[in-house]
């Protein structure tokens, strides 16, 4: 009796089954199959296994696997001008925020430092008076500024918020005097201590909104065209 087929022989039988054995090898193996029942049995087993697998029913897909645009991550091509508007809006927004932040920071610093300097407050009074809407405070400050020497150039160019803070710091002192009105007291309250933003800040805000709206409109138009083309 022949021994059971080796792994190599099994492999050859499997290749013979798939008709992928070279012709001369196939001829030799077929001749052996006639003579060797063990080999013949192994061949039959391989063939039966293959037949079993081929008899498996092909299942239909339970659903369609087509991809949606969102699944595939397909987006409309970015319009050429979109990045320019996008970055412009971002830059403008950053400037806008910085201007407010700078104003607040400088306002706080000046406000904190202005108390000991209250004595020199009259120096800033004329400019500060412009920012103070109350008539009483203006009256309170007017004599002080009138007595002073002309303002140095730096003081004239000093930002209004800082001057305003100095005025606020000075206001209670003025309030201690006889002619200080209720409006001067109100000016010293914490709420009124917040400095005014620079004049260009609203413009920056508007510019930010405008650029962002342009970027959005460009993107929206590109998406719409893309959908229509599809």
């Amino acid at each position: 009796m022949n021994p059971s087929p080796s792994s190599r022989e099994i492999e050859q039988l499997s290749s013979l089954l798939d008709a992928s054995l070279p012709v001369n090898e196939a001829t030799r193996l077929r001749a052996r199959l006639e003579r060797e029942p063990e080999l013949r049995q192994a061949y039959e087993q391989l063939r039966e296994a293959r037949q079993a697998l081929r008899s498996l029913p092909a299942r239909r897909a339970p659903r369609n696997f087509i991809l949606s645009r969102s699944m595939a991550g397909v987006r409309a091509p970015t319009p050429r001008l979109f990045p320019a508007f996008q970055w412009g809006a971002a830059f403008s927004a950053a400037l806008f925020v910085l201007s407010w932040g700078w104003t607040a920071l400088m306002g706080n610093l000046t406000f904190g430092a202005s108390a000991p300097l209250a004595a020199s407050a009259p120096q800033a009074a004329p400019l500060a008076a412009e920012a103070l809407p109350t008539e009483g405070a203006m009256q309170a400050l007017a004599p002080a500024s009138a007595e002073e020497t002309p303002q140095p150039e730096a003081a004239r160019l000093a930002p209004a918020p800082a001057a305003t803070d100095m005025l606020f710091a000075a206001a209670p002192e003025q309030g201690n005097s006889a002619d200080s009105g209720p409006s001067a007291k109100a000016a010293g309250s914490p709420l009124s201590a917040s400095p005014a933003p620079p004049a260009f800040a609203p413009w920056l805000g508007g510019l930010t909104l405008l650029l962002a709206a342009c970027a959005w409109a460009l993107r929206w138009q590109a998406e719409r065209k893309f959908r229509q083309r599809k």
């Binding site: 792994s7 099994i10 492999e11 039988l13 499997s14 290749s15 798939d18 992928s20 192994a42 087993q45 391989l46 063939r47 039966e48 296994a49 293959r50 037949q51 079993a52 697998l53 081929r54 008899s55 498996l56 029913p57 092909a58 299942r59 239909r60 897909a61 339970p62 659903r63 369609n64 696997f65 087509i66 991809l67 645009r69 699944m71 595939a72 991550g73 397909v74 599809k230």
Partner: protein, 201 residues
């Protein structure tokens, strides 16, 4: 359907062209995933993953058999799924003997605890074959599914699995033999109509 034109369009970003290819091959991919994973829901997920991956990587397709290329993506998706599944405790496919040696024979698959009623339920050819397929090591299972169920030739299967031709031949032969041994356990339970027919070849 001009497949080459659709592939080209898909490579140029046309989702519509790609979806037409999806419709043409979804049954093949789903069946492959089903036979490899043995679970309908997971097979559907793997098929979807495979198509998504295929769309993202369609530009890496350099010609040849698209079916083989797509079957490779679904096989990879199945491997990923099985890796995820492996993190959970499961019944080992090949149990160990008392001496801690792996059981080579698939005879352990004939569960002695199965009642006659359960056996009767399992006697359908499809269930029996799927049961035996699940018992094969993964590398054997994928080869036998691609070659014998999807009908890929050796070179296509080798390309799909990125394995040498010799490895494919060897694994296929061993997988068939083990399947045959496993099916032997169910042989007498199979209805006559389901018995294997002798090929006329």
């Amino acid at each position: 359907m001009n497949e080459t034109a659709l592939i080209q369009d898909a490579q140029n970003g046309s989702l519509e062209a790609f979806n037409r290819l999806v419709l043409a091959y979804q049954d093949a991919l789903y069946n492959t995933a089903l036979r490899v994973l043995g679970d309908e829901e997971r097979a559907a997920d793997a098929t979807q993953e495979a198509f998504l991956s295929a769309f993202r990587n369609i530009n890496t397709f350099r010609g040849g058999s698209l079916k083989a290329w797509l079957l490779r993506t679904v096989t990879n998706a199945c491997y990923d799924d099985l890796r995820r599944q492996k993190r959970r405790p499961t019944t080992p496919l090949e149990p160990h003997t008392d001496d801690d040696e792996e059981m080579e024979s698939p005879r352990w698959l004939a569960d002695p605890s199965m009642t006659p009623a359960e056996k009767a339920e399992a006697d359908e050819l499809e269930h029996a074959i799927q049961h035996c397929l699940n018992a094969l090591p993964l590398e054997f299972r994928t080869v036998v599914v691609l070659a014998d169920i999807q009908g890929l030739d050796y070179s296509e299967a080798a390309a799909a699995l990125r394995s040498p031709l010799g490895t494919i031949k060897s694994r296929l032969a061993r997988a068939r033999l083990r399947l045959r041994e496993c099916l032997q356990e169910f042989w007498e339970l199979l209805p006559a109509a389901f018995r294997l027919q002798k090929e006329t070849k």
